[in-house]
Symmetry: C2
Subunit: 128 residues, 2 copies
DNA sequence: AGAACCTTGACAATGGCGTTGTCAAGGTTT
DNA sequence: AAACCTTGACAACGCCATTGTCAAGGTTCT
């Protein structure tokens, strides 16, 4: 255990460089840059222009991965969905998970991204 | 008798065979069958299995055309959007049209009444 | 300083999808 | 019978998503 409270773990805080972020979401760094070019993710930058992804950015990318890989939605569809979400001001995308979870048990890695982090997975400190 | 003097022109009433429907939406009949195979449109059938599209079906197809052609969304994206719309129970897609037209209106509740679709030409008189 | 990583930009390959189009063999409508 | 519908198959064109690499240069860490 020893996982005491960590109130200062701000999910908006930019912490991961692109290589780490790519590992976290299981994608190529190239892909993350494409997502940014497409306006789907906007990672922060260091004063010297290095991308830094926050926990929220990671979660957003995981949404993109889910929509594209599992649902076959293309980036234009993702953009439209995000736009809709922004316009309606809600996390409307979560409604999509009422279906994928109540399936026959042939699923591995059941994703439980209901309203919170799919799996906080105590992030390893990027000590390197 | 047994009919209103003014034909209500029920938008759910199946009236167009596939060739006519294809003309209305400017698509190939093949495409409409694909939409049906993908579960995006469900035209009624005559007792002898002939497809009959209603006005609502036509409007739905026009949505698909708009999303795919103008926005670049693929069919998987369209399906997700429709699913979301069904799940949230409203015509959420109309929110997508507030983009190109309005920007900084300043009014609180004036677009609720004008819920019509600007682009796909909701023609009340199909006199083709 | 040097190694390791980041930056943008370009180019390419692979695989998949959207759409249109056609052919066949048969049913329906007029 | 002619014209239209049905399903199913096959194909082609062009676009897209993703991964990958190369180059030339900036940043960070040891």
């Amino acid at each position: 255990m020893a996982s005491a409270r960590r109130p200062e773990r701000d999910p908006t805080r930019p912490v991961y460089v692109i290589s780490v972020a790519a590992t976290l979401v299981e994608a190529h760094p190239r892909t993350l840059r494409i997502y940014e070019d497409e306006g789907l993710v906007c990672p922060a930058r260091t004063p010297t222009n290095i991308r830094l992804y926050s926990e929220e950015d990671i979660r957003r990318i995981l949404w993109i991965r889910h929509l594209t890989r599992d649902r076959g939605v293309n980036l234009a569809g993702v953009r439209t969905l995000f736009e809709l979400e922004e316009r309606l001001g809600k996390r409307i995308l979560e409604a999509l998970y009422d279906e994928g979870t109540r399936e026959h048990g042939g699923d591995r890695e059941s994703r439980a991204a209901t309203a919170a982090t799919p799996r906080p997975a105590d992030d390893p400190e990027p000590s390197r």
